[in-house]
Amino acid sequence: MNTLAARAAPLSPASHTAMPVIPAGRLPGMGLRAQMLWAARFRVLWLLGGFVGIALIALLRIASLGFAGQAPERTSLAEAMVPPRGEITDRNGAPLARAFPAYALWFDPKAMGDTGSPLVRSPQDVARALKAIFPDIDEGRMVRRLASGKSGYLRRRLLPEEANRVFALGEIALEIPRETDRYYPQGTLAAHVLGYVVEEKGGQIGMEQVLEDRLAHRDTRTQPVALSVDVRVQGALEDELRKGMLATNAIGAAGIVLDVDTGEVMALASLPEFDPNTAGAAGAVNVFNRATNGVYELGSTFKPLSIAAAIDAGVVRDLGKAWDATPVSVGRRTIKDLKPKGASLNVPQALVYSSNTVTARVADALGAERLRRTMIDLGMDRRPFIELPARGKPLWPQGEWSRVTNMTVSYGHGLAVTPLHLASAYAAMVNGGIWRPATLMKLAPADVPRGRRVFKESTSSRMRQMLRMISLYGTGKQADAAGYRVGGKTGSAEKAGVGGYNKTALVSSFAAAFPLDAPRFVVVIVLDEPKGTVASSFQRTAGYTAAPVVGKLVPRIGPMLGVQPDDARDVDISDLRYLVDRH
């Protein structure tokens, strides 16, 4: 201000009068002092500004560290408990597939952060120490891996105690990342139902593929998905099926336990099986599902269905009527019985003794169109109704059925279906005549489909009597588990090969229902190419191979499924009994 006033003074003529107030002689000295003062003040200000700036930077750094730095990761409890992939349980809540926290062993050569050796000790020492923890590794290969300096998995799955021991080695380059793994506690059990998971590709085959969206979606994966399968029944089915398969030297086997009133699959097995825990991106062996994907000519198990169609249509009214049982010549073919039981048989006898000729004649009387209609109603002309992606397409005779086709289909030849087709059809035949689609999802009582009527209630009742008679007097004696009122039909068909039937390869099947006085479950057992062994009395036919499996299985699963054995109860067969059992 003073300097301004001093500069302004010579310009203004009026200022001359003001001069004496401020002595002119002191002006230059005063300006210098003020300048120095100002400079000093500015320096202090700069210093202060610098301090403030540094303080601000420090504060900002602290704040940034506080907000974005190495703050402990905050995940809420609910979030942390959400599995990366939903759980699959059986109908009672026992887990079949779950996300399992596991450890992996990862080699990271850059972990030390310098150019020196990635390991503290020599690769040989470390490999020896690892060998002590994992006895199954190849020590020489491990030394080469560690010496190569390439990062990668040394081992995919570690147990927690193994992880602790690796950590105790003190090698920084050996990292133990935590990974969640898809784990199947029951191992190979129900492998074909569940399928497996490949990282970054999702579920493969089975319900893992079907439920992919639901299991992987953020909102739905918290809730486990309940399948209709009962793990105890599945275990018993696979156990008995495996024993039956090994006892008869069969190349494969399939088994189904189906709830007749809801269509829920209680157990579904296909042998040989695979282990979903070890199946990975490379795929798995034995993924072929014989129960829902394999189509077979199931032979005589079709006879009850044809007879039921005939009873339903009114073609068979008098069960005591004698039908001609001599070989049938139709076209260039002759249909014969495997074990002829006389010149004439009535319908119950035809089922009990498994007569091709009588069944073919009944089907002939019924007519091709009506049998075809029944088979279509039973869903035999399309892939089976089930969620699984592996569903076999039946070999269905196209167009109008000729007389020969009609007759051969009536006893289960010329039409190849999956075992599941047969199970659904049997369920419809014994449950009062309602066909329902099979399902692998647990159904609430309100969700059970209404289904469609295929047979009359009275027909179903007759068929229950006759099925029971087959296991009492006929080919299914070995399936008659004491107290469980089992009834079913055997089927042994030669495998269709190139240029006709293969005489040496057989498909033996048994389709049963229990308890037949109030049917609850259908059991279908199919053995692929059983051989005559000591265990099967050197027989390959279903009565000696597939039927005993049912006979041993039903007492095991009955009590679990709420079916009590009772020696005092049985199907009332008094009106048919004399037709077969003439004593």
Binding site: A80, R98, G235
Partner: protein, 189 residues
């Protein structure tokens, strides 16, 4: 110092106290929050461990493993029809009173009864070491002259006090084995 000065000083003091309280409170809140976080983290860790152990148990007790154990060790078979009861009536019939002309139920012989009949003192026999055959004296028996009687007395007193239903029927404790069993049955009613 005049009044207004004193007042403003007072306000300043109140403000300072409030600020201090806020600071203390916020510290407290943060402390509690971090405790909650810690507890939550512990919960997560425990839940994961439970999952791990549960899965391990299920793996070791898988259906196939159980079937193998049964085949090798236990040999359990599926129950037969005779092993089931039809309902409450059939169950109740098992406890029915014996009819007037029914045959006497079979009684099983007891080893110690036979010993008593032979003249050997059943209760008084000293416990013997299975290795050396020398008599063994238990520490409690050595300290107390009559440990059984003391226990029976205490147990009887306890039962009388603990039974709210029929205290009058609880018999006064007697010395010996019979009193203990009688008291046990009394409480079971």
């Amino acid at each position: 110092m005049n009044r207004s000065q004193a007042r403003s000083l007072g306000w300043a003091a109140v403000l300072a106290i409030c600020l201090a309280a806020v600071v203390v409170l916020s510290f407290k809140v943060h402390a509690v929050r971090s405790e909650v976080l810690l507890a939550e983290r512990q919960l997560i860790a425990l839940q994961r461990e439970t999952l791990l152990l549960e899965t391990e148990f299920q793996t070791r007790a898988s259906q196939r493993q159980l079937a193998e154990w049964n085949a090798v060790e236990f040999g359990y078979q599926a129950p037969r029809a005779g092993q089931f009861l039809d309902g409450e009536r059939q169950l109740a019939s098992l406890g029915e009173r014996r009819g007037p002309d029914a045959p006497a139920p079979i009684r099983l012989a007891r080893a110690d009864a036979a010993e008593t009949a032979a003249g050997a003192p059943a209760a008084g026999a000293p416990m013997r070491s299975p290795v050396s055959g020398a008599a063994v004296t238990l520490a409690s028996a050595a300290a107390e002259k009559d440990a059984g009687a003391v226990f029976t007395q205490a147990f009887g007193d306890f039962l009388i006090e603990a039974s709210p239903i029929r205290p009058a029927r609880a018999e006064p404790p007697r010395v010996g084995k019979a009193a203990a069993t009688a008291a046990g049955q009394g409480s079971g009613e």
